[in-house]
Amino acid sequence: MPETLKEATPDTPGAVAAPVATAAVGKPRSLWSDAWHDLRRSPLFVVSAILIIFLLVMAIAPGLFTGADPRYADLAHHYLQKPKWGNFFQEDWFGYDIQGRSIYARVVYGARASITVAVVVTVLVTILGTVVGMLAGYFGGWIDTILSRVTDIFFGVPFILGAMVVLTSFEERKIWVVILALAFLGWTSIARVARGSVLTIKQADYVMAAKALGASTTRILLRHILPNAIAPVIVVATIALGGYISAEATLSFLGIGLAEPTVSWGVDISSGQEQLRNAAFVLIIPSVMVSITVLAFIMLGDAVRNALDPKLR
């Protein structure tokens, strides 16, 4: 305490005039700004972030990467014409599939479907899981019993099997059907993490202090519990995002996820398997894209976890 006194006394006269200057010098550091500070220095984060930005740009503006139409099939081109590995970013860079469509164009355009599914599912799952977990953890008692048992029931359903059952009951499998099916089954792990996290945070003295100073339940949940309990949820959600990309690919491969004419990596992997023996690249190129994307998100999740909780490293 004497230290702070010492620091403060000399500049007290000037303090009134210079709030802007001092704000720049003594930047307050919150948990999040600390985490951001750590993240920027983490090679894991830098690599994964560059990859993810690259993929996101590809998903948002595929036209930037190729002028070719992914649905234009010209049987004059055929998979037996091997890829021209030297023609970077050209239509024939990765060769053509059995229908004579540019694989490079399809990979670029396929990013949108795969990433949309993964991102939207992750957002839905995070919201639903956090709400359920937070209510169960904070209120306890019978609310917890009911919500936790429901979570357990959903958790017991094997993810891919469950998604297959849900998806096969839909005639037309548009992108939102796949999203809802995955979100419907995927929220349980987030709910469990959120509940556990809230159970710890709700014991914290500052929650009791907030209560003692007259904060309402909503305010306690949103201002005091949520920001403190959200870190592990974000980590799990980021890692799960990679999982949803592969889940979409798996379902499309099995023929019950996205279907033609939607362009997605899963759809291409599915159609590529038929030519595996004479033209493996038709299958391998979209698979590599899936792997890179999954890897990027898992690395991001790891980096975020390290930054938010250095003790876990």
């Binding site: 305490m1 230290e3 702070t4 006194l5 620091e7 403060a8 006394t9 500049d11 007290t12 303090a15 009134v16 709030p19 001092t22 704000a23 003594g26 307050p28 550091r29 919150s30 948990l31 999040w32 914290a204 003295d205 500052y206 009791m208 202090a209 907030a210 209560k211 003692a212 100073l213 007259g214 904060a215 309402s216 305010r219 201002r223 005091h224 920001p227 403190n228």
Partner: protein, 352 residues
């Protein structure tokens, strides 16, 4: 209530004119915790009262029920496992235990506020102190962000945090222990409550800072004419600040007295034991007295007087009959104002 608010504009008579009775009165309060091993009786019939401008020190060792009583008053007891089978908590004559949750929430922070022991863990680590202080004004008084911030800075100045303007956006971990406790005090003071409950406010601080924080509390209490309940296990902290003392043991009040009398002439063997176990300069080199034995297990409180297994004066009656809190008198029978003792042998203790 509106009448009170109007008179509140006149600073001097605030608190003294609006009520004749005490600000807060706890009557025969019982608190139990239902645990797997049985019912733990944490508070067994506590009575005390505080008036505006008065400081009551509640003294007792860990597990004596002093904090649980405070939590029951604040309405922040975890229920279940906690349970209040009996008793009344009257704030300005109204029983708070009968109020709705919303009514009680309106009282918390605005009429009664609480200061906690560990200021670091009592402040939200992800929000800046300015935000947390400002929250009080924004939620309870509906001020804008800017106004709330200005008020927060004024408040931080009031509790003498140096360079408040520059530090208002800092986070709790950037403050020293003493400064954090000042911020806690500022938060409790924000809405100028009528009563503050301070639960061991200086336990986590070192001795010099303890004195500063206690002085600050006493000064603010005088300025705002608040009632103050000071919960502590430190007899040294109490002497300078408190007006009256209630000593708790095993969930009961065993002795009440005006502050200086208790140091001169304790009327309960437990209080006597506590006073004798304070290290004193004139007894340097001698062995320090300690009360023998351990505090009782609240699941199995001894029959009769709960202190009997540790008491040097215990007789058969102490093991069978629970002594009531009786007024203490001089040897000639003149009443000693405000004094009471729950001991079968209080006469022997105070006069013998």
């Amino acid at each position: 209530m509106t009448i009170i608010d109007k008179t509140a504009d006149v600073p001097a008579p605030r608190g003294s004119n609006d009520e004749s009775g005490p600000l807060l009165e706890v009557r025969d309060l019982h608190v139990e915790f239902h645990t797997r091993d049985g019912v733990a009786k944490a508070v067994n019939g506590v009575n005390y009262s505080v008036s505006a401008g008065e400081t009551l020190a509640v003294l007792g060792e860990s597990g004596s029920g002093k904090s649980v009583t405070a939590q029951a008053i604040m309405g922040i007891l975890d229920m279940p496992p906690g349970h209040i089978p009996k008793g009344e908590i009257l704030f300005r004559g109204q029983d708070m235990l009968k109020m709705s949750n919303e009514e009680r929430r309106q009282i918390r922070g605005q009429k009664i506020a609480m200061i906690f022991q560990d200021a670091l863990s009592s402040l939200n680590p992800v929000l800046s102190v300015g935000y947390q202080l400002g929250e009080m004004f924004r939620v309870h008084q509906g001020l804008s962000k800017k106004e709330a911030k200005a008020k927060s800075i004024a408040l931080m100045d009031r509790v003498r945090i140096p360079a408040a303007k520059e530090r208002v956006n800092d986070y709790p971990h950037q403050f020293s222990g003493g400064m954090r406790q000042r911020i806690m005090i500022a938060m409790a003071l924000a809405l100028e409550p009528d009563l503050i409950i301070a639960d061991e406010p200086t336990t986590a601080l070192d001795v010099t800072v303890q004195a500063q924080v206690m002085d600050l509390l006493a000064e603010l209490q005088r300025d705002f004419n608040m009632g103050l309940i000071l919960i502590t296990h430190d007899l040294g902290v109490v002497a300078d600040v408190a007006d009256k003392i209630a000593v708790m043991y095993a969930g009961r009040i065993v002795e009440t007295a005006p502050v200086h009398e208790i140091y001169k002439r304790p009327a309960h063997p437990y209080t006597k034991g506590l006073l004798e176990s304070i290290p004193r300069l004139d007894q340097k080199g001698q062995e320090l007295y300690a009360i023998k034995g351990l505090p009782p297990n609240l699941l199995h409180v001894p029959s009769g007087c709960a202190f009997n297994p540790r008491c040097t004066m215990a007789q058969d009656i102490c093991r069978t009959e629970i002594p009531a809190l009786r007024p203490v008198t001089e040897q000639d029978g003149t009443e000693l104002v405000g004094r009471g003792s729950a001991c079968h042998f209080w006469k022997e203790t105070i006069h013998g």
